[in-house]
């Protein structure tokens, strides 16, 4: 490849960290006292060793029996100019470390990367926001922190304000904003960065449904503008929609790379991705509003088993478990279904007569929507779990692509496929009833 077309050239990037920093336990006053006296020197060595690596550490790390962990190991790849590359992998696979190295936040332990062009990285929205400053002031501050020039921010100021929709509160200190407003403002600034190379980490997972849609739209337009983008996400739908190519990292190494659909498929089938079920153990991190929060979403078959693959003819259960924290609201749990190309297939709402029009007491609810067999087309489908209250209308949560599942055609001939063996296009593939009338012609057939 001619290096004129290159945006990023990464060669043998490795990064190691030392983890052996556990505190010692002392069981008597005397031992803890002697340890206390000896501790300054020990502490000094300990904190010093954090970033000092000897050759033996590099070698010892290979066997895995030392206090060294390899966050990245010999990563090499090229990104062409204008390419949109997705990076996927389970937690701790090294995705964030890779982005941090490419954004120059932390240096690699060995290896190198050449970057051709101006880079902006967005590892978190709202970096450097100051609560005492007004929205207007924070736009300028955050913009320059993200690498824009003063004039650039000035030029885009109008667009940023308009995109964020916080115009009225522009001169209010940010500490009086709701968290939603803060995120919207932060994302709006970030969205107007115009570097040649953009490095993005999961920033789409913010805000309410409306705003998320806007962000995803913005990301889509950014990728169409021919900019080089590196995009890390757990959202497989977004990856396949936005990135033609992807790499899959696992334990600091590249497992697969290539076109994103096949990389995502391999990732999902590797068992690393718990795609068919997602659980929020901790109420703190769970998506939710004042009234309800989401606890779990999963895909199940008619026997109640969590499944990732489901036969095209079998009913599919979309289940959400949620906790109601405030009494007396009319709730509207609903699911959105999207396919791999991002088409919104349908919305389905909880119509269970036991709860319809009834105010719900506090407690945990598990609701399931059943999609009949022979309705969806083959392929991967992404489920968004959402919840709102009805009077007044308040969003509680909207978790885009919370879970996903694969509809598989078993080619048994009992489906809508019939005896056709080729590809079948279409957003859905319903099994419809066909009726065919016949009348016999009096003339003989043409020869």
């Amino acid at each position: 490849m001619n290096n004129q077309d290159l945006a990023i050239e990464a060669r043998n990037l490795s990064k190691i960290y030392r983890i052996g920093l556990e505190e010692e336990q002392h069981d008597s006053l005397l031992t803890s006292l002697t340890a206390f006296v000896k501790s300054p020197l020990k502490n000094y060595r300990k904190y010093r060793s954090l970033y000092k690596f000897e050759k033996k550490d590099m070698e010892a790390g290979q066997d895995g029996n030392s206090d060294i962990i390899w966050a990245l190991r010999d990563i090499s790849f090229d990104v062409r100019r204008g390419e949109v590359l997705g990076i996927i992998g389970s937690n701790g696979a090294g995705k964030s470390t890779l982005l941090k190295i490419l954004s120059r936040i932390t240096p690699p332990t060995s290896g190198s990367a050449k970057i051709y062009g101006r880079v902006s990285s967005l590892l978190e929205v709202g970096t450097g926001f100051h609560p005492e400053l007004t929205g207007r002031e924070n736009i300028f501050l955050n913009g320059t922190i993200l690498g824009m020039k003063h004039n650039e921010v000035k030029r885009k100021f109008g667009q940023i304000v308009e995109f964020s929709g916080i115009g009225k509160f522009l001169d209010t200190p940010v500490k009086r904003y709701s968290s939603g407003m803060r995120v919207r403002l932060a994302f709006s600034v970030a969205a107007h960065l115009e570097p040649e190379i953009l490095i993005v980490d999961e920033v789409l997972a913010v805000g309410d449904a409306e705003f998320q849609k806007k962000c995803l739209g913005k990301m889509e337009s950014v990728t169409r503008e021919g900019r080089t983008v590196l995009f890390v996400s757990h959202n497989m739908g977004a990856i396949t929609r936005l990135c033609p190519n992807a790499i899959h990292l696992e334990k600091g190494m590249v497992v697969h790379s290539g076109d994103s659909i096949s990389v995502v498929r391999q990732y999902l089938s590797s068992g690393k991705a718990t795609s068919a079920e997602r659980v929020w153990e901790d109420d703190e991190d769970a998506p939710g509003g004042e009234v309800a929060s989401l606890q779990a979403v999963r895909i199940k078959d008619s026997s109640g088993m969590t499944v990732d693959n489901i036969d095209i003819g079998s009913p599919i259960g979309l289940e959400m478990r949620f906790r109601v924290k405030k009494d007396g609201f009319l709730l509207n749990p609903h699911f959105h279904l999207f396919n791999q190309s991002g088409d919104h297939i349908f919305v389905t709402m909880d119509l269970d007569p036991r709860w319809r029009g009834k105010r719900r007491p506090c407690g945990t609810y598990t609701s399931t929507a059943w999609i009949p067999g022979h309705l969806l087309n083959e392929g991967r489908l992404f489920v968004t779990a959402a919840m709102g209250t009805l009077e007044p209308r308040l969003n509680q949560y909207y978790v885009r692509d919370a879970v996903s599942f694969e509809v598989i055609d078993n080619l048994q001939g009992d489906g809508a496929r019939g005896d056709w063996t080729g590809k079948i296009d279409g957003i859905i593939r319903p099994l419809l009833k066909w009726e065919t009338e016949f009348s016999k012609e009096n003339q003989p057939c043409d020869l």
């Binding site: 332990t109 970096t127 922190i145 115009e194």
Partner: protein
Amino acid sequence: MTFLIPNMMQEVAEKKNEPSIVIKPKSGWSLPDFKELKEYRDLFYFLVWRDIKVLYAQTILGMAWAVLLPTIQIIIFTIVFGKVARIPTEGIPYVLFATVAIIPWTYMSQAMSQSSMSLVQNQSILGKIYFPRLIFPITPVLSKLVDFSISVVLVLAVMIYYRVAPSINILFFPVLVIYMMAIAAGTGMSLSALAIRFRDVKHALPFVIRMLMYTAPIVYSAASIPEKYRLLYSFNPLVGVIEGYRSCLLGLPFKWEFILPGMVTTIVLLFVGMMYFQKMERTFVDVI
């Protein structure tokens, strides 16, 4: 929507085959990349501006604090050291003697301590975005100049009260401002890089700064130091700054034997600070 400013496009075209950034492990000693720092001058401006803006947010007295605190300190020192202890001041009224020293000292102590803690305080930004880290310790050195400028009013007031007319010596004033900024910057760069690794700095710093005050001729006169210790004494750059301000503002002859050795120390401090900071810079994020 426009996405590339024209001159940037040109720059990119010229350097097409040259990587704009090469990322690789770094070790050894080097000086900061001043060209890169210049690129980030807008950010410098906004961080300094943020510091100033935020400092007196939600206060009743606002910028009056910059005058009020040194005033109280001057009053206390005048009572304790001037009236009670009767420290000799070479015939200068004690209020005048103390004021010209306390104002620059207030700047230096605040700039030094803020600069030293700058990395620890900004660690959330440190791990999320790249820009030359040197901006952090330098920002307080600049933003504290605002307080300094305001409190200079106090010096002027006292000078008017005692009818001290500025002499030609006042031309030396800008040199002293740069001198004291260099001390704060040198200390701040070294200590901020140290503080991010060893938080001991945070505990020791307030004490050390309080002690430093007594190493400089702020409440007493440098002339009271025995002759044979004077050279050693004046390698403390604080001595030079304070003596310099006194001569500059009160129109007394400059005592170069107190001023010059400290300048040597300051230049060394500045270079050591920059190089140590530069050496440690790339490991900051890994040791937060």
